[in-house]
């Protein structure tokens, strides 16, 4: 095979929904064991909200989130509880798994926002304390584990973010961790995320012109060969730590001979929709629009095989997004969650704050519904993509005013092709049980398709001193 053949030859994958993407052949550079599983993929998405939900657990607040009756969920039943936030998901009643009353294993090591949200999808105690109440996570997150085990060419999970990232918050991202203290930053501009997914950067502008494309490929191949040589040479320095080598390895595996490019995938008009919010993507009036665009990108990335897992973070740990409720841009969500005009304990009361909080819960659950709507359009013999994965929303805290680290809501859809029971609302709080979130996440891990060497579902997620293994009552 000629050198040219080696980079021109590419495999084309066809994902659900007829999306084709050209993926480079990097066999020579992909570490053994890091290649994509050949089994039919399962998908996963994790959505993280903050500031708690409007629910009644441990003796405070009105119940405005969960269905009235535990057990079997039906569309009619969910819709009838129209004053509850979960009614937003009525269309997917038979695919849902609602878990009320989950707890964290570890107390907050600092500020409850940081100390909780670092556990929501890691089930780990905190890592580095940055001062000012902020901490990093002490271990990798679920999306990272899934990506490193299942993603083609060890690709990074897709992580997106809704809202502004004020620099004074020091640490806005807290959903996805590569490992202890290594937070993965989510893109908060849908237009940039869209461009990256579609390979629309200026350097990749040769798409559509075969000759120019070939010249670009050749050029990049030369440069990439050079860069790989430099990475290898630097990695060979004996003075480097294991951590340094890990970072260089990540650099190495990030190098691709041609940017993944999606072909014939979307209505051309969609590009305009993404472009339209560019620069206005953190404006209060665009919050729900941005959520819709972000879920659209995630669905596209999953369907095209770019990644099998993704994360979507709604706001920073102390979510100060100003959501629009009743047609009016409200005070920042953190004030509303406290019910007063303050980030602290003293301030003027905000009228109707509990109901506004409930309406924000609805917006956050509509993020999950928006994702499900995009996925449900893509179907094959095994059903829609909703049936072929696990898509979960969780809030970092139990409720707003008290910011408790108990009663953590985990709301998921999708049975992962028969792995999970669905159409269920399990009220652990009412049962006076408090499963640990490590057990929930391990259940999700199996649903996402991560397996042990013997083929059994993986059962080792979370810190070593948390209860491990899945919640067996959730398995089909």
């Amino acid at each position: 095979m000629s050198q040219q053949d080696s980079f021109v030859r590419r495999r084309f994958l066809k994902g659900l929904g007829g999306i084709s993407i050209g993926l480079p052949l990097l066999d020579a550079f992909v570490p053994r064991g890091a290649r994509a599983s050949t089994a039919k993929p399962l998908y996963s998405v994790f959505i993280l909200g903050h500031n708690g939900i409007a629910q009644n657990v441990y003796g405070a607040g009105r119940e405005m989130f969960w269905p009235r009756t535990p057990g079997r969920l039906t569309k009619a039943g969910l819709a009838a509880d129209k004053d509850r936030a979960t009614s937003e998901l009525a269309d997917y009643a038979d695919k849902l798994l609602l878990l009320r009353g989950i707890r964290y294993t570890f107390p907050s090591a600092a500020d409850p926002h940081s100390g909780s949200s670092n556990q929501t999808f890691t089930a780990s105690r905190s890592g580095r304390n940055l001062g000012g109440g902020r901490t990093m996570s002490g271990a990798e997150s679920l999306d990272n584990r899934i990506a490193r085990e299942l993603n083609p060419e060890k690709r990074e999970p897709l992580v997106l973010f809704v809202g502004a990232k004020p620099s004074y918050e020091q640490l806005t991202d807290n959903l996805s961790y590569r490992g202890r203290d290594q937070v993965r930053v989510g893109e908060n501009n849908p237009w940039l995320a869209f461009q990256r997914l579609m390979g629309m950067n200026p350097g990749g502008g040769a798409a559509g012109n075969q000759e120019a494309m070939k010249a670009l490929e050749e050029r990049r191949k030369s440069v990439n060969d050079f860069v790989r040589g430099e990475v290898k040479a630097l990695s060979a320095r004996k003075e480097l730590s294991q951590e340094d080598r890990k970072r260089l390895d990540q650099h190495f595996t990030s190098i691709r001979d041609l940017e993944v490019r999606i072909q014939n995938t979307m209505d051309p008009g969609r590009e305009a929709a993404f472009r339209a919010v560019n620069g206005k993507h953190t404006s209060a009036e665009n919050v729900e629009t941005v959520i819709g665009l972000m879920t659209e990108i995630i669905a596209l990335a999953l369907a095209s095989g770019v990644t099998r897992t993704a994360g979507l973070q709604l706001g920073s740990p102390t979510d100060i997004i100003r959501y629009t409720v009743d047609g009016k841009v409200q005070e920042n969500f953190h004030y509303i969650s406290h019910r007063i005009m303050s980030h602290g304990g003293s301030g003027a009361a905000i009228p109707d704050a509990e109901r506004i909080h409930h309406m924000i819960d609805r917006i956050q659950l509509r993020a999950l519904k928006s994702l499900l709507d995009h996925l449900d359009k893509r179907k094959d013999a095994d059903g829609s993509m909703v049936d072929q994965g696990i898509y979960a929303y969780a809030n970092a805290l139990g409720d707003g005013p008290r910011h408790i680290l108990r009663g953590i809501p985990y709301v998921s859809a999708g049975g992962a092709r028969g792995y999970l029971k669905t159409g269920q609302f399990i009220d652990y709080y009412a049962q006076k049980k408090e499963p640990h979130n490590s057990q929930v996440l391990t259940t999700y891990l199996g649903a996402a398709g991560v397996r042990q060497a013997n083929g059994a579902p993986a059962d080792d997620f979370g810190a070593r001193d948390t209860p491990r293994g899945p919640l067996t009552e959730l398995l089909a």
Binding site: K165, P166, D173, Q182, V223, L234
Partner: protein
């Protein structure tokens, strides 16, 4: 009593608002100055360090070396004067990825561009866990960032190689006619500056091969441009460019950084960018490792230029949270007197004071805390209740009544930032003093605390006292460390205006605070500022922040003795910011890392 698990006290900064208040406070004005920021510069331009765009190259790679002094050898440090405390080396990252700001500055200086390219705006935001956003030891290159680096490299390479003037600035002045030799000369010079050290033979071979591929099939200037374009694309994506590499020469217990590594450490510490040509020449001549004086001379040279000024500004920008002034938001209906333009005004006021005190007067913390003057335009003059005539676009220096106002703690920006609308935010004002000025190690709030309901007719101080003061579960932390400085500042409202009363009662600004191991009392913010300025603890904290900033690492216990010595000198007025910086960048911990 509501039972709660953990009431947030260290949440994001409070920015929204309520009532109005008026007061008097300041007198007189002296001198006049233009807008304290250069024309066209906005506060948001300020966070990154920088120095002016370089002029024509002097050829860092081809500088004739001077006499090579004999250095102390691998693992050995240059001597210090007898009795001088040393700063023990601590583990530092061998690889530090360039932060986005450093990347911008480095690309500008490497390619000798008139200004930073601005391409990092589309890079994924980085989550840098340090106050100063300059610790690259945990930053990595992932798939998304690699794509962005590739895009930027292709764009920059195209831009430079196709502009003859830009190309001339980049390549050595005298180039061989033979294309092969030309490629080698170009690659050697480029790699020296891009990798911030001379390339080894293998690196040079790979670079020349890349140049050759880019120039293949072309002749003359076109071949040079083609080779440079491809070479630049590669170099700008190479880890040797994207990561600062500080390995050192191993001795028995220490690895001492070599001249090129020290040049890079010094340059990134003081200008946030790669070494300039003079620093490269010093590295080549080995004057940086020969003696501490050689390093100190280069540090003073860099600090003497605009780059040094930018360093001092950048440090205070982060330490004093000046960037947050831009995000002060208040409801103009609830906070009479507030207009959005005040955000810029307050930022400019604070920066002008930093420039005047720390740069012009060479004063450090004491000067910042006890300056009895400031810089105002008409909008700010109204907040300070100053008589006289002012305009919105001119800032003038004014003297303040030192019995009412003193230093940055009583400046409008600080007081407006830490407020809920018009109401002072006692907790966050106090937290700023405890954390930023005194480096108090505050433990996290407990998981279960009880917050009593408070009477809304109480004063702000009474409400906070009821929630977190003596007799509550917040007594240990709030009463002792956080609230007292906030109480001292109760005499200023959410726009920094003097407020004599709260809820119809005279504001109570008295309190006590433990400083240097002793409980000190104060009756108001002015007295608190004087106490802080005279405190060893505050000066040690200030020196510790400088250490964190210049060494790009968190403070450690082993730093304490050295910092205590710096604090003693600073407290006595014997250590200007410039001397403090030079001391830190010539310390043992800057010169070596433990093995």
């Amino acid at each position: 009593v509501k039972r709660i698990r953990s009431q947030s006290i260290v949440d994001v900064l409070a920015l929204a608002g309520a009532l109005a208040c008026a007061g008097a406070g300041c007198t007189g004005q002296v001198g006049e100055m233009d807008d304290p920021l250069p024309s066209g510069e906005t506060p948001s331009d300020r966070p990154s360090q920088g120095r002016p765009a370089p002029g024509a190259p002097t050829g860092g790679g081809s500088t004739t070396p001077g006499t090579t002094p004999a250095g102390p050898g691998p693992g050995a440090l240059p001597p210090v004067s007898a009795g001088t405390p040393t700063l023990p080396p601590v583990a530092t990252p061998v690889l530090s990825r360039l932060t986005h700001d450093q990347w911008e500055n480095t690309v500008r200086d490497l390619l000798r561009l008139p200004k930073a390219p601005g391409l990092s705006q589309s890079f994924p935001a980085e989550s840098n866990p340090s106050r100063f956003d300059n610790q690259g030891g945990t930053l990595a290159v992932d798939g998304v960032l690699w794509t962005e680096y590739q895009r930027a490299a292709e764009q920059l390479a195209r831009q430079v190689s196709r502009d003859p003037a830009a190309l001339m600035r980049l390549v050595p002045a005298q180039l061989p006619d033979d294309l092969k030799a030309r490629g080698r000369a170009i690659a050697e010079a480029l790699l020296l500056r891009a990798y911030r050290r001379p390339p080894d033979a293998d690196e040079l071979t790979r670079a020349v091969a890349l140049f050759d591929r880019g120039s293949a099939g072309k002749t003359g200037a076109e071949a040079t441009a083609g080779g440079v374009e491809l070479l630049l694309e590669g170099v700008l994506q190479a880890p040797q460019f994207l990561y600062r590499t500080e390995i050192g020469r191993a001795g028995k217990e220490l690895a001492t950084f070599d001249d090129y590594e020290l040049a890079s450490r010094l340059s990134y510490a003081l200008s946030g960018s790669m070494p300039d040509d003079e620093l490269f020449a010093a590295a080549r001549a080995k004057t940086l490792t020969a003696s501490r004086q050689g390093l100190a001379d280069q540090a003073r040279r860099l600090l003497g230029g605009p780059g040094g000024q930018a360093t001092i500004e950048t440090f205070h920008h982060h330490l004093l949270n000046l960037g947050s002034f831009q995000r002060i938001e208040k409801d103009a209906k609830a906070v009479p007197g507030y207009v959005p333009a005040l955000r810029d005004d307050m930022y400019k006021e604070a920066l002008a004071l930093v420039r005047d005190v720390a740069i012009e007067r060479g004063q450090g913390l004491s000067g910042l805390l006890t300056a009895s003057h400031t810089f105002v335009n008409a909008r700010l003059a109204r907040l300070y209740d100053l008589p006289g005539s002012f305009t919105d676009d001119k800032f003038v220096r004014v003297d303040l009544d030192p019995s009412r106002r003193l230093g940055l703690l009583t400046s409008t920006g600080f007081l407006s930032l830490y407020a809920h609308g018009l109401e002072p935010d006692i907790i966050h004002r106090g937290l700023f003093v405890a954390e930023n000025l005194l480096c108090k190690p505050l433990p996290p709030p407990p998981d279960d605390i009880q917050v009593p309901k408070v009477d809304p007719t109480l004063t702000n101080r009474q409400r906070i006292e009821a929630i977190s003061g003596k007799g509550t579960c917040g007594e240990a932390c709030h009463s002792t460390f956080i609230n007292p400085p906030g109480y001292a500042l109760e005499g200023y409202d959410g726009l920094g205006r003097v407020r004599p009363t709260d809820q119809g009662k005279p504001v109570d600004t008295a309190g006590s605070y433990r400083l240097d191991g002793e409980v000190r009392t104060f009756s108001n913010a002015v007295e608190l500022a004087r106490l802080l300025a005279a405190s060893q603890e505050a000066h040690q904290c200030y020196a510790g922040h400088w250490l964190e900033f210049l060494h790009a690492r968190p403070r450690q216990e082993s730093d304490a003795k050295f910092l205590a010595d710096l604090a003693t000198r600073s407290q006595a007025g014997r250590l200007s910011p410039l001397d403090l910086i030079v001391t830190l960048v010539t310390s043992d911990a800057f010169l070596a890392r433990p093995l």
